[in-house]
Symmetry: C2
Subunit: 346 residues, 2 copies
């Protein structure tokens, strides 16, 4: 564990600025006195693109690389054509820094709302592959805009890429009390990629005899997310299925305002990046209504990744206690940040 | 409206046999006396494959073509490698008969269970594209089974294919009281296919000024399915997203036991095929526990497609009344079929 943290901060668009400010507040409050926190802010996102046409220049990518981790708020604005910032900035970072483990825990905290009747006991984590599948930007369009247009999207999957994320998921499952790992894919239709995933899943599983395994098609998995979410412990899945499932998971566990995520490169070759699952929510930007909890929980994942397990746990306990203590009255972004900073410091 | 129906019946595997028997029972009961129903049963599925290695021989495909419609129970068994029957039989039929409209209505009937608290008012229909996208079987695997394996899945999308299904969806939306159509895709990541879908959606929309439109990314759509399903009226989406969303839709509207579907070729060039969304459920096959309601509702879609609107509505009303009258005691597959046959005849 290093006694200094060089943190790159990308507040981004919309509520990104506001929630990141609270994340930094809590991070500062929880860190031991002798840990030096150096932050460098990067002006990236919609505004920058409008001003300069740039999404992520090489120089900035290089500069980001010199950090221990990245904290990102949110990227995206309706004024920018769909895909420009996603592909040119957010996904570019995930790919350039080889964030092959996209980690998304889902937990139904006490005293939070869920659309599910009966409040099932939800506590699972999705290990979403982050560098392959339908996200590689492979594909094209022919005769664009004409009645004879053909558009393709290619899902690229490699044994190299699948094995490393599957192994990471087994490690995580093996270290949890229930030791259960579910593979989600669609191998009855996407037979090439699906069978490769399943074969690798079975092969690596032989090294983890204590982990119970299960396989579900993605369509069936969505059913269990709402009818029996307590059956899940760790889930491993491809980039697109993971995208879909983790939004659904967030929805059933108190909403997108609480869902944290880490884009992790476990090798340490590149900085990992932590961000809330929610978007930039331009409709509430600047109103103080954004819930910074997802960002603050992302800070916990960041700390855990850098070896500050105790501090990570302290944030998670603070969030649980804070939610438990809520009386239903509305609190501003700042007030929630203050409350959590006070709890982790105390 | 023809005064005879030549119906091909593919009971298939597991509970397929049992539920199809009830579907035929209700069909016979609801049809006017003077309509001649000719059925021909096809032995296709797991058993046939084990016995002969065949999934769908050309001769049978030709023979199926001579019918007005197809009623299918369920296909699939754990004893058959994943993908063999799906690709070789079920999807082969959808593709060979150009079933480009995969119609899946979702309605929360009174007195049925939903995992959602607050029982929202759900009544929407998903128009899932049925002949393109990631379902075309395009892709492959190189160095299969080695650590250097690469597997691809290609999503193929054509303006021709997208426009016809989008137009169908606008027609359906235009004929419903709320007149609302939502496109679901992921055009911030799958930019080639996604932008084509969105452009065509906007273009065709100009012909339907009374239809209100909306666009959602697929991940966000899953959130609204559980937090605000009443916002949806008609949804149009691609083959894979439609697969995922309709299982989720079934889960929130009383379960997969009630979800009907039609694989429709609106041109009439080929017979359309009607089937419950659920699978073959081998674990309960033969126990009389299967709920035939989804199949019976699929028969209603079949009748509507063939022009028997009144009879279709009678089945749907019978199902609603039957569910309403349930007292919670378990009924067998047969008993449910009998009850519904009695109601539609009465
Ligand atoms: C914004 C978008 C590119 C992104 C994704 O699809 O991965 C988001 O939905 C997420 O889940 O982080
Ligand atoms: C069995 C499978 C091939 C099929 C599909 O993916 O379309 C099923 O899930 C469905 O929704 O009808």
């Amino acid at each position: 564990m290093s006694r200094s943290i060089r943190l790159a901060v990308i507040p981004g668009d919309g509520i990104g600025q506001e929630v990141v400010a609270q994340g930094l507040k809590v991070l500062t409050a929880v860190l031991p006195q002798d840990v030096k926190l150096e932050t460098k802010e990067y002006d990236l996102g919609a505004q920058r693109w409008h001003a300069t046409g740039e999404t992520l220049p090489d120089a900035e990518l290089e500069s980001l690389k010199q950090h221990d981790a990245i904290l990102l708020g949110a990227i995206g604005d309706p004024s920018v054509p769909s895909g420009v910032l996603e592909r040119g900035l957010l996904l570019k970072l995930r790919f350039a820094f080889d964030h092959f483990v996209n980690l998304r825990p889902s937990k139904l905290f006490p005293n939070t709302s869920t659309p599910l009747a009966g409040r099932p006991d939800i506590d699972f984590v999705v290990v979403r592959e982050g560098t392959e599948g339908p996200y590689t930007g492979n594909g094209g369009s022919l005769r664009t805009g004409t009645p004879a247009e053909v558009a393709t999207e290619v899902s690229l999957n490699t044994a190299y890429g699948v094995e490393r994320v599957v192994r990471d998921a087994y490690e995580r499952a093996n270290s949890r009390p229930r030791k259960k790992l579910t593979l989600v894919h669609k191998n009855n239709v996407l037979v090439y990629a699906g069978h490769m995933w399943k074969n690798i899943f079975d092969k690596v599983g032989q090294e983890y005899p204590e982990v119970t395994t299960d396989y579900l098609h993605v369509d069936a998995a969505t059913i269990f997310f709402v009818t029996q979410p307590e059956r899940f412990d760790v889930i491993v899945t491809d980039n697109l299925f993971g995208d879909i499932l983790t939004d659904l998971a967030a929805a059933v566990t108190g909403g997108i305002g609480l869902a944290a995520s880490g884009n992790i490169n476990p090798t340490g070759d590149f900085p990992s990046m932590f961000e809330p699952v929610h978007g930039s929510a331009p409709d509430i930007a600047g109103t103080g209504k954004a819930d910074p909890t997802a960002t603050i929980l992302s800070v916990a994942l960041l700390l855990r990744h850098l070896g500050y397990e105790q501090q990570a746990a302290r944030i998670e306990e603070a969030v649980a206690a804070d939610l438990e203590a809520r009386d239903g009255s509305a609190r501003s972004t700042d007030e929630i940040g203050d409350a959590l900073a006070a709890r982790v410091a105390g």
